[in-house]
């Protein structure tokens, strides 16, 4: 018979990690608002403002819906983003990903975005359509350097498994030290992935009334806020897992459960740093137009990522460096 207690413990731990991730995400959004406000020389809302917002939105009595496709947005959005989190090792603790495959992770990451896009499109508001078009074009832009970066990691560490990648980084060196150019390109791509300025083109509140979000209110908006909070964690964790060894400083094999706690804290600090970098850039930049973003991404980050890829290729194939 299968080990039911083991499976239940695993499920409980997964639920705990997911819950914590969403809470941390909301906290990060609040901290982000505060920091941006301080940079702009404003007072800004309190750090816990986003918890109040979500609570209020989810408790609203009057909610507006357009049709059944419209409902897919919060459902697919939240379920998809939680699924992505479950596949990402957080603080070295891998939840579901048995083999921890990077490619399935990249495709799972698309599920919430696609569901969101479907729901947004299902309102007859043209702002939503334009917003989704911009979001997809932006995705097509930043994925070019990002995929090159992912490929260079997969070639250098000779694995498509996130789990193995983390282990090899722990034993060898963090990827940021070995492939600094790839890390730079990845961080540039991350800014677009998180849709922070100068790449907040899809939402662009002053141009197209928040784009895809325009028709959502009440519980719909509340769930989508949970979605965006969780996706902050997804994106920063992805960078930390790929380049900063997932924050693993102690080997769980040797130190046991102490290692999990320490690693979790290190991971938390690292994603906060990645989030801060994105915030600082966000606070001082104006917005690109979408075709400028496309040209930018397919030029500089792509060139940097390509150099990183060639470096990984030479090191792995010609120099025979085996991490």
């Amino acid at each position: 018979m299968t080990d039911w207690i083991g499976i239940l413990t695993q499920a409980g731990l997964t639920a705990l990690y997911l819950f914590l991730a969403v809470v941390i995400g909301l906290l990060f959004l609040g901290i982000g608002r505060k920091i941006t406000a301080r940079i702009h020389n404003r007072v800004g809302p309190p750090v816990y403002q986003n918890f109040i917002d979500v609570g209020k939105l989810l408790a609203k009595k009057s909610n507006i819906r357009h049709n059944w496709i419209f409902d897919l947005a919060p459902l697919f959005g939240l379920a998809g983003v939680l699924l992505t989190l479950a596949y990402l090792p957080m603080g070295g603790y891998r939840l579901l990903s048995g083999e921890g495959d990077l490619i399935i992770l990249l495709y799972i990451m698309v599920i919430p975005a696609l569901g969101f896009a479907l729901g947004a499109g299902a309102s007859a508001n043209p702002n939503a359509g334009v917003g989704v078009m911009r979001a997809l074009t932006l995705m097509f832009s930043y994925e070019m350097p990002f995929l090159l970066v992912v490929l260079s990691l997969m070639i250098f560490y000779n694995t498509a498994s996130l789990d193995v990648l983390l282990n090899k980084q722990m034993n060898y060196a963090w990827a940021i030290a070995v492939l600094p150019l790839s890390a730079l390109a990845a961080d540039m791509a991350l800014q677009g992935m998180m849709m922070e300025k100068p790449f907040d083109i899809p939402t662009a509140p002053h141009e197209i009334a928040s784009g895809p979000l325009v028709e959502f209110g009440g519980k719909y908006l509340g769930m989508l806020m949970l979605y965006s909070a969780a996706s902050v964690i997804v994106e920063t964790t992805l960078f930390v897992d790929l380049f900063l060894g997932g924050g693993i400083v102690l080997d769980p094999g040797t130190y046991g459960s102490v290692a999990y706690v320490v690693n979790y804290l290190v991971w938390l600090i690292l994603i906060f740093i990645v989030w801060l970098i994105a915030l600082f850039i966000n606070a001082v930049f104006p917005r690109f137009r979408i075709e400028q973003a496309f040209k930018f991404y397919w030029k500089w980050p792509t060139i940097i990522a390509a150099i990183g890829l060639i470096q990984a290729y030479i090191m792995s194939v010609f120099l025979g460096v085996v991490p």
């Binding site: 609203k60 399935i104 989704v132 498509a160």
Partner: protein, 603 residues
């Protein structure tokens, strides 16, 4: 099972149906359904009952029913069945002729799949090709001519390859080709692959596809879903059965990949990229799907070219998925076109609210196309990616990866432009597609869902094929699949997805929502009673503007320039017919002198 029963069920029966259904009037598609269902039943009965027959009818020919044939027949049979089901309510003109030609194509396709000798291959290939030509001709002569040009090119390439084999061996059997010298192998493999690649619309031989795919949708579903797989089958057989792995590797290898296969893999990756970019720019629903089909088959070409077990398994799986999702998409487009009578994406909008089932089926097919893990489309994509990454190919892999991101773009263009957004006034009373159409789409959807939960079931067949051909083995269980560098488990994925979906559902259902009219939305304080606000026209304009200076280069127009050169050249030559008898007399004199001089020089 005897050779006559094999021949009778899969070839003679559809041919008989061709004769009968021509007189079937509007009941013809039902006759077509019967004549495709019967071979389907036998396909089910004869699974595992594989055999090979060589007979001598003056030349030796061979008909073989093995797992490869069975696998491809399964796709083609299901796709044509669904197409006929769709056609029963599509109100095509001259239905008898349509059914008749489709069955003829079906017989030809089955013949191609059964034959293991070049003579019967060529005959059945031509039957299939000509029936497709006549079917394209039903909607447009211009498109048919373009198709014909490339069909003839394909036939020439094939016949050159066959000629070389026959010159050296004096036999048409595939199995007799083993003793060819190295130089001959090069030309045979090259010519046969190029000949079959025309059917798969690999760049630069793809230009017929966007035109041919603009014909009647039930036929296009069969052409794109079914007949294009014959190209895959042909290339697969050329590389791994006629030539075989050892011959391929004798050309030298690059990191374990044959140098004979690598260029085709590169070509496939380029095809995937270019096809996707062009698909993003289309506004005609049929053209968009056509370019998408070109791009998707590029992945199959990559898999076949790489030739590792994982890559070829991925290619076969991808071909299988493509057969189902692409014919489903064409039928979905057909249902929309049937109801609205429009082709342009920007003229539609909001149809998903009126045709929810069509929308759901198309949505699922698009998930499969884009490779979302809830469909089997993901697994086949995954296999080809991992195969390329395993071998550390840094040109092929990025091209494929970015092309699959591009696939999200055009997928959303279909979803938003046709099914979402604002429902326009003229379409307000549109009904759901007729039941037979929906059933046809449902049939095509099922395998995509089932094989995403139980990939092991289809891997059993694919693995059998790979072992038969001596390529290698796949590493899989019922739910999971592995490469040397990673792996994924669909059972964990599905359970987690379902549970988390329920969590989202619980949060969602805690509060009720009231439904409002589609015009009741936020428009920055403006309150127009009615205004057309479907933002689907020129959807990816920023992207198109950025690509403008690259888009002016086109293979299509290059061919047109070549053809114009010849037409103009012949116009010049035509000028020698001046109509003046004295000129003709002068030509005669010049010709006479030429003959004398040449004759003198020769003797």
């Amino acid at each position: 099972m005897e050779i006559m029963s094999l021949f009778g069920i899969f070839i003679l029966l559809p041919l008989f149906g061709t004769l009968i259904s021509y007189f079937g009037k509007k009941y013809a598609p039902i006759i077509g359904l019967i004549f495709t269902a019967v071979p389907g039943v036998f396909l089910y009965l004869w699974y595992g009952n594989f055999s090979s027959y060589t007979i001598n009818i003056g030349v030796e020919i061979n008909l073989t029913f093995d797992l490869t044939t069975w696998f491809f027949m399964l796709m083609i049979n299901t796709v044509i069945f669904a197409s006929f089901l769709f056609a029963t309510s599509a109100e095509l003109k001259n239905t008898g002729g349509f059914t008749s030609l489709m069955l003829l194509g079906f017989a030809g396709a089955n013949g191609v799949l059964l034959s293991r000798d070049f003579l019967s291959l060529y005959i059945f290939w031509e039957i299939m090709s000509w029936s497709a030509y006549l079917l394209v001709l039903r909607s447009s002569g211009e498109n048919a001519r373009r198709y014909l040009l490339f069909a003839v090119l394909s036939a020439y390439l094939l016949i050159m390859g066959i000629g070389i084999v026959y010159y050296y061996t004096g036999s048409f059997l595939y199995s007799s080709a083993v003793g060819l010298p190295q130089a001959a192998w090069f030309w045979v493999i090259l010519l046969l692959i190029l000949g079959f690649a025309v059917k798969m619309a690999v760049m630069p031989l793809h230009v017929w596809a966007p035109y041919a795919y603009s014909s009647e949708q039930p036929f296009v579903a069969f052409l794109s879903g079914g007949l294009s797989k014959l190209g895959t089958f042909g290339i697969f057989l050329t590389m791994f059965s006629i030539a075989g792995v050892s011959v391929l590797n004798s050309f030298g290898t690059f990191r374990g990949v044959s140098l004979m296969g690598y260029p085709f893999a590169l070509l496939g990756a380029l095809t995937a990229f270019v096809g996707t970019i062009l698909a993003i720019m289309q506004d005609d629903l049929r053209k968009l799907l056509a370019y998408s089909s070109i791009g998707q088959l590029g992945y199959v070409m990559v898999g076949l070219g790489l030739g590792t077990p994982l890559a070829v398994g991925g290619a076969l799986f991808y071909a299988f998925n493509h057969a189902f999702f692409k014919s489903l998409l064409f039928l979905g487009a057909g249902a929309v076109i049937y109801r609205t009578g429009k082709y342009k994406i920007s003229d539609m909008g909001g149809l998903g609210y009126r045709m929810p089932f069509t929308f759901l089926f198309v949505l699922f097919a698009i998930f499969a196309l884009a490779g979302i893990p809830i469909t089997s489309g993901f697994i086949s994509k995954w296999m080809i990616y991992e195969a390329a990454i395993e071998k550390k190919f840094i040109v092929i892999t990025p091209l494929m990866l970015i092309a699959s991101v591009g696939a999200f773009l055009y997928s959303f263009r279909i979803l938003y432009g046709v099914f979402l957004g604002q429902l326009d006034k003229p379409h307000e009373n549109i009904k759901e597609a007729p039941v037979p159409m929906l059933v046809a789409m449902a049939i095509l959807m099922l395998p995509l869902l089932i094989f995403s939960i139980f990939p092991g079931w289809i891997f059993e067949w694919i693995n059998g094929i790979l072992v038969d051909m001596g390529i290698g083995k796949l590493n899989y269980t019922t739910y999971a699949y592995y490469s040397s560098i990673g792996g994924a488990d669909m059972l964990v994925f599905w359970i987690a997805f379902m549970l988390l979906f329920m969590v989202a559902m619980i949060i969602f259902l805690m509060k009720k929502a009231t439904k409002v009219d589609q015009y009741d939305n936020y428009l920055a304080g403006e309150a127009p009673s009615y205004v057309q606000l479907h933002a689907a026209h020129n959807f990816y304009k920023p992207l198109r503007d950025t690509w403008a200076h690259l888009l002016k280069y086109s293979v299509d127009r290059a061919y047109e320039r070549v053809s114009r050169f010849f037409v103009e050249g012949f116009e010049e030559i035509k000028k020698i017919y001046t109509g003046n008898p004295q000129d003709y007399a002068a030509y005669l004199g010049v010709a006479f002198l030429l003959f004398i001089f040449i004759g003198w020089w020769l003797l």
